[in-house]
Each structure stands twice: as structure tokens, then as C-alpha cells.
């Protein structure tokens, strides 16, 4: 690592020679505004022109996000020329922007607004024609509104490099340039995963999840029994929306908030995560014993299921037939719970709070309808939407006391359910139960299963259980999944069981989670973009450790559900309610 001497506004610094001016300045304590750069200030496009600085000897102003530092470089961030140029750059972006900031759901998290304030952009400096726009809200999960796009290209990079797909691209030229799927099609009509990774990087409101708070309001108005369930990953991130440090678990406060919002029951999807483990571990053992399609692959992540159906339609037989946990929970609420409480399933409205945008798509699937043809889940709110909902009710989240999830019949959960939210969690939970079923005893070593933890895209491990060797792999992001799937296709996969999560890092980094941008989180460390996933995951693992019951098969309410209603894992009734089917949707590519 070679060091070079640079000067920023007359002050000398030594920095790594591999840095860009933007990164170097950040390390030295200067914040150069930018819109297109993300992940470490790296940027391949230099498209937004907001990060302009003056470099002595360079021709014109330089885009600091792509300009490398070199020995003796004299940089001026604060010169009249540079500050004026950055201001005009932003004013030009604003001249082609849809100014409905007051009602824009991105307000408070809008990087364009923040940058405009930083550079001192003036009102209405450039007025004139605007680029023809597209508003696409046909998909159940995502909205694309090009009137708010600044053409930074982050979403294109994210889709291409984080997920390895590349649904989005620039189209047309010059003033008419927009960002979208090819032929400016809807997200509904292209092989999009609905994972929302593009939403997590969009600096403005151009890409957003489809809001469903209104649906929940309507259900309350109609006098329904509105029952809410929350996914494990939500508790690990919701606090960020209220200014808490990344990785603060807020389970108790979240439950209090939901109770104050008036939900009839507040349940934890973890109950259904335990149920999923019972069904999935049973399915795995059946496949091993009866020569079913192996490796078996988890199906909790609807982004991953969308990918499998559209890109690997020939491999859908490898997917576990288990519904994802929140769909299971919904199905059990509308059957078992409804019967127990003498409520008509039609009068129940199930709301899932999820870290995910693809869950919004999943709940619309015809396969995810159970009792009386009713949808298992009626509305899905993202973690971000829940924060909006809580704020709207005037609730001071940070001052809430803790409370417990409702404990009647569907309330109990184990530590195994909690860790579903982190990549490797489903695997670890499944192994804990599979081990018990195969050997009749519990393995304490599986209570901290290091080989499947961590943020790598692909992790693998091998376990010998009851004399059987089980090779497993844990994968997050579709880019990491591709080579593993190609191996299965080629018939040379060494694995028995594979956990796949659609988003890099699993649900804790889902498309519906609070935005992570160091520029928006001034109290966080500079390296927060590297560490937030580990911090959120740690919040879940610590909750697992605090639980006294940490294995799904020890969940007494899950046991009661089987005794009273479902008989046993894999029973006919369980299949009816808790399992699903998949379709080869490869034609969507065409």
C-alpha cells in the first residue's frame, strides 16, 4: 500500500494511492456531495456531476468520484469555482425533477434534497422543458417514477453487480434518457425478482416499494380482525428509522407500537419460521430417504423463488415445497386460529411486516391462497412503511416501553426462528432440528454454527449426522447463486441441502429495510456500509442466545398445532395449508 502526499484546501495529508479524490477526502474529514457514488464512494459512471472539485493543473473541474489521487496533488473543494460548479450541477438536476417533495415518500431520506441543501441550490434557476416520463406501478411490489430520476445509474449497477441480472439500463439519448427495463416495460413484464435492491440504492423517490398502508387503513375501517405478524429481520433494523445505532434490536418497542396501532393480535412470524423448519426438515429427510430431488433448496425468499422460476425453470423441482413463513402464518391464522376463536376467515385481515419488497409480489400469487380461496396474507408493509405508520400515529417510538408478542396459540417462538433473518439462519435452524430427528438428541455445537454464519456470498459446510454425511451450502444474492445452480443443472452439485436468500446478506439487507447511507447517518462510523449487515445479523443472533428454547421442534405451540390440527409434519392437512407449487416462467424472458 503506497502512500501519496496530497493537499486539500492547503492542508497536507498522506493517503493511500489507490483512492479516488472523493474517498481520500472522506478519510481526511471532508464530505464532497455526490449522488451517483455509493459503496465506498466508488462510482463507475461519474454521471451526476455533483462531486466536482478543482485540482491544480487538471483541465477543468474533475469528478472526484472517479479521479484518482496522485503524488503532490493539490485539491480545492472550497474554491469559488468548485462550490459554484457543484451548485449549478444540482440546480440543473433540479430543473428536470418532479418537485412534489411534500408528498414524496422519499422525503427525509432523499439524497437529492440533502445535496441541494448542502450546495445551496437556488429555487427555479433553470426552467424549461422536462424529459418525457414514465410512471410504472403495475407490479405489486415496485414503483418506477422516472420524473424523479437523476440518471445516476446506481440501480443499474446494483441489479447487474449485486444480483447479476441487469434488468435495468439507460435508454435513449441526451435529454430523452431514462432508466428502466428494456423497451421501457413494466417491472411486471420483465424477469425482475421484485427484490428491491434497486430501491435500497436509489438516491431519490424514483424507485420505491408500492405502499400498502392505505389497504391496512381500509381493513380497519371495514371492521376486520386485523392481525399483524413481523418478520425476524424487522426488529434488527426498525430502530434505525428512529435514529438508533445500526444493530439495535427493538423487538419490545416494536410490539408495543403495533399494539398501540390497534392490531387485534401481534404475532411473530418466527412461530411460522419454526413451523417451516418442521415441514422443511421433514421434507429434506423424506427426500433423502425416498430418493427425491436433491439438493433440496430453501424457498423462504420470494426474490429467490422469482429468480428460480424465471431463470432456472428446469430446477424448480429442487425447491422445497414449503410456503415462506409469513404465508404459513397467514394460512394458520385463517384456519386454526379462526376456528379456535370462532371468527370467519373472511373477516380476518393479515398484515405482514417484512424487510422485503418481493413479499408484496408473493402474497398475490394464486398458489398462496388457502382457506376458502382467500389470500393467506392480505397486505405486506416493509420495515420502512412500518416506521411511517408508527410516526403517523404520533407514537414516540424511542420512548415506548417493551412488551411481548401475543402468546395465545400462535405466539411462542424459538431462537431458531429468529435467526431466519440472517443468511445461514434457516440452515442453522434446520440442522438443529434435523440432527435431533436423526439421532434423538440435541447437538449443542449447532447452537452456534459458525461455518454457516457471516456475510460471504457462498458458505459451505459438511456435517456427519447419525453416520450420514450432509454437505450444505448457504448462498445469498443471485450472483452468488448462479454458479451453484449451474452445477446442479450440470448434475455435479455435491450438496444435499442449500439455503438461498435473494438479497446479499439475507433478509437483514432486504429491499424493504431502512436505507443505509453514511451521508444520511452522520453518527455512524465511516465504514458503516461494510458493517451494517454484520451488525443487524448480530442483533438477531443475540436474540437467539437470549431465548431459552432454541430449537424449532421444542416450540410447544407448534407441537400443539400439530397435535390438535395438522397431525404431523408433511401430513395431508399440512400440505394443503403450508405447501405450494412453482411454475417455470422462463417465457418471461422472451
Amino acid at each position: 500500500m503506497a502512500l501519496v502526499n496530497i493537499k486539500i484546501d492547503g492542508i497536507s495529508y498522506q493517503v493511500d494511492s489507490s483512492l479516488t479524490v472523493l474517498e481520500a477526502a472522506k478519510q481526511c474529514g471532508y464530505n464532497i456531495p455526490s449522488l451517483c457514488s455509493f459503496n465506498h464512494g466508488r462510482c463507475s459512471k461519474a454521471s451526476c456531476r455533483v462531486c466536482l472539485v478543482e485540482v491544480k493543473g487538471a483541465r477543468g473541474l474533475v469528478a472526484s468520484c472517479v479521479y484518482p489521487v496522485n503524488e503532490g496533488m493539490e485539491i480545492s473543494i472550497n474554491s469559488q469555482k468548485a462550490t459554484e460548479a457543484r451548485r449549478v450541477s444540482v440546480e440543473l438536476l433540479l430543473s428536470n425533477h418532479n418537485h412534489d417533495c411534500q408528498s414524496c415518500r422519499k422525503n427525509q431520506n432523499c439524497e437529492l434534497l440533502r445535496v441541494a441543501q448542502l450546495v445551496g441550490a437556488r429555487e427555479g434557476m433553470f426552467r424549461g422543458e422536462k424529459t418525457p416520463t414514465t410512471y410504472d406501478d403495475l407490479s405489486p411490489a415496485l414503483i418506477r417514477d422516472t420524473s424523479k430520476c437523476v440518471l445516476c445509474g446506481r440501480c443499474i449497477e446494483q441489479c447487474k453487480y449485486a444480483q447479476g441480472i441487469g434488468i435495468l439500463g439507460f435508454e435513449n439519448r441526451g435529454f430523452k434518457t431514462i432508466v428502466g427495463p428494456a423497451y421501457n416495460k413494466s417491472f411486471k413484464d420483465v424477469p425482475c425478482l421484485q427484490c428491491g435492491q434497486c430501491v435500497t440504492v436509489c438516491p431519490t423517490g424514483a424507485l420505491m416499494e408500492k405502499g400498502e398502508i392505505d389497504k391496512v387503513d381500509e381493513a380497519f375501517k371495514a371492521g376486520k380482525y386485523v392481525i399483524v405478524q413481523t418478520a425476524p429481520a424487522v426488529r434488527a433494523a426498525l430502530g434505525e428509522e428512529f435514529g438508533m445505532p445500526v444493530g439495535t434490536p427493538v423487538t419490545g418497542k416494536m410490539v408495543t407500537a403495533l399494539k398501540r396501532l390497534g392490531f387485534y393480535r401481534v404475532y411473530d412470524t418466527n412461530f411460522a419460521a419454526d413451523l417451516t423448519i418442521m415441514e422443511e426438515a421433514n421434507e429434506l429427510l423424506e427426500r433423502i430417504n425416498n430418493g427425491g430431488a436433491l439438493p433440496m433448496i430453501t424457498s423462504c425468499s420470494p426474490g429467490w423463488v422469482n429468480y428460480a422460476e424465471q431463470f432456472y425453470g428446469d430446477l424448480i423441482g429442487h425447491l422445497s415445497s414449503c410456503k415462506s413463513p409469513h404465508e404459513m402464518e397467514g394460512a394458520v391464522i385463517k384456519s386454526f386460529f379462526a376456528e379456535k376463536n370462532n371468527i370467519k376467515p373472511e373477516d380476518i385481515f393479515v398484515v405482514s411486516i417484512m424487510p422485503c419488497t418481493a413479499k408484496k409480489f408473493e402474497k398475490e400469487r394464486p398458489e398462496c391462497r388457502g382457506v376458502n380461496g382467500l389470500a393467506d396474507v392480505d397486505a405486506v408493509l416493509t420495515t420502512r412503511e412500518l416506521a411511517t405508520y408508527i410516526r403517523r400515529a404520533g407514537i414516540e417510538f424511542n420512548r415506548l416501553p417493551n412488551s411481548e408478542f401475543d402468546q395465545d396459540i400462535l405466539g411462542e417462538y424459538t431462537g431458531a426462528g429468529v435467526i431466519f433473518g440472517a443468511t445461514g439462519g434457516v440452515m442453522e435452524a434446520a440442522l438443529r432440528t434435523a440432527y435431533y430427528w436423526l439421532t434423538g438428541e440435541n447437538a449443542d455445537s449447532l447452537l452456534k454454527c459458525e461455518p454457516v454464519r457471516g456475510q460471504e456470498g457462498v458458505k459451505e459446510a459438511s456435517f456427519t449426522i447419525a453416520g450420514k454425511e450432509i454437505k450444505v451450502a448457504v448462498v445469498s444474492s443471485m450472483k452468488a447463486a448462479k454458479p451453484i445452480l449451474d452445477d446442479i443443472r450440470a448434475g455435479k452439485s455435491p450438496y444435499t441441502f442449500i439455503e438461498v436468500m435473494g438479497c446479499p446478506g439475507g433478509c437483514i439487507n432486504g429491499g424493504g429495510q431502512p436505507y443505509i447511507r453514511s451521508c444520511m447517518l452522520p453518527n455512524e462510523d465511516i465504514d458503516i456500509e461494510d458493517t451494517y449487515r454484520a451488525k443487524r445479523a448480530a442483533a438477531l443472533y443475540s436474540e437467539d442466545e437470549r431465548q431459552t428454547v432454541r430449537r424449532s421442534h421444542e416450540n410447544t405451540q407448534v407441537k400443539a398445532l400439530y397435535d390438535e390440527y395438522l397431525e404431523k409434519p408433511g401430513s395431508h392437512k399440512a400440505h394443503e395449508l403450508l405447501h405450494t407449487t412453482y411454475n417455470d416462467r422462463g417465457h418471461n424472458l422472451k
Binding site: 443499474i156 447487474k160 441480472i165 441487469g166 434488468i167 435495468l168 439500463g169 439507460f170 435508454e171 435513449n172 439519448r173 428502466g180 427495463p181 428494456a182 423497451y183 424472458l589 422472451k590
Partner: protein, 166 residues
């Protein structure tokens, strides 16, 4: 719409010819454009399958360069140069006249598939300004009153071709 068998074969051949180049996409698209006169959606999807480059990226390139076209072009592509030298010598009026006589806008093709009007940026014929290019032929110093003659010449050429053909 589906691509015909021979078109699929030809596009695959074009892809195979350039796939090992460092940046094959531009070469492939140029060859397909030249061969078929346009690059329809189905061709872009086939190129995507063959190269592994996403459709969005291919569509982005096709819509960026004016040389590429998503729709079939006419037999006679009238390119009017609107580069600086031609523009100051009234080429805007020339292209307006073409549009008026043919009843189409720049970038469009007449219903009979005969003519396409393209607005070109500098074609490097500044000494001949204002220049009009019809397929390979360049007409120098075109005045508004010459426009009709150029169209007539094309129609005459087409009629002769058809006679020969018969």
C-alpha cells in the same frame, strides 16, 4: 412477431463472428442493422441469449446511437445533414420540405416503405453544404426547390429497377 428461421441463423452467425472481440456488442449490432435494416426486439433478445449481455444493456445501446433503428427503414433513406455548416446554409428548410412532401417526420418511414427521413449530424461533407445523402449517394448544395427533384429521381430509379426485375 417471431424471427424467421433464416434470420435466426444469420444473427447467430453474426454473433459467432464477433463474440471473441474485446467489445463485441457494437460490431454485432452494426452487422445486424446493415443486414436487416433494423434491429427488432426479437433480434435483441436473441443477441442477449447468445452473448449473455442483458437485454436492457443492448436496448440501451440500440436507442443511444441514431445509426441503429428499432423499426424497418425505407428503401430510400434520405439523410439531411443538420451539422453546423449545413444548418447555417438552410438545411433545416430542406428537411422541412422533405417532411412536407412525404408527409412524415424525421425518423419516420412512409407507409409504402419507400422513404425514411433521417436528421443527420455532420456527415463530413461541409464543403458541399447543405448536403443530403440518399443511401450511398450525396447530393451537394441542395436548395429547397431541389427537394422535389431528389424525390422524383428516387421514384424513377425505383421504377427502372422494377422494370428490369420484370
Amino acid at each position: 412477431m417471431k424471427l424467421q428461421e433464416h434470420a435466426i441463423k444469420e444473427i447467430k452467425e453474426i454473433v459467432a463472428q464477433f463474440i471473441n472481440e474485446p467489445t463485441p456488442l457494437m460490431m454485432i449490432l452494426s452487422a445486424v442493422q446493415t443486414k436487416f435494416g433494423y434491429i427488432p426486439m426479437e433480434a435483441q433478445e436473441l443477441i442477449s441469449e447468445e452473448t449473455g449481455i442483458s437485454v436492457a444493456e443492448i436496448y440501451g445501446v440500440v436507442t443511444f446511437y441514431s445509426f441503429f433503428s428499432l423499426k424497418p427503414k425505407g428503401k430510400y433513406i434520405i439523410g439531411v445533414c443538420l451539422g453546423t455548416a449545413c444548418y447555417v446554409k438552410n438545411s433545416q428548410q430542406v428537411i422541412d420540405k422533405f417532411c412536407q412532401l412525404l408527409g412524415i417526420q424525421p425518423g419516420e418511414t412512409t407507409a409504402d416503405g419507400m422513404f425514411t427521413i433521417d436528421a443527420l449530424r455532420c456527415i463530413g461533407a461541409c464543403a458541399l453544404a447543405p448536403a443530403v445523402r440518399v443511401n450511398e449517394k450525396v447530393y451537394p448544395q441542395v436548395r429547397v426547390e431541389d427537394v422535389e427533384k431528389i424525390i422524383d429521381a428516387c421514384e424513377k430509379m425505383e421504377a427502372e429497377k422494377n422494370e428490369k426485375g420484370n
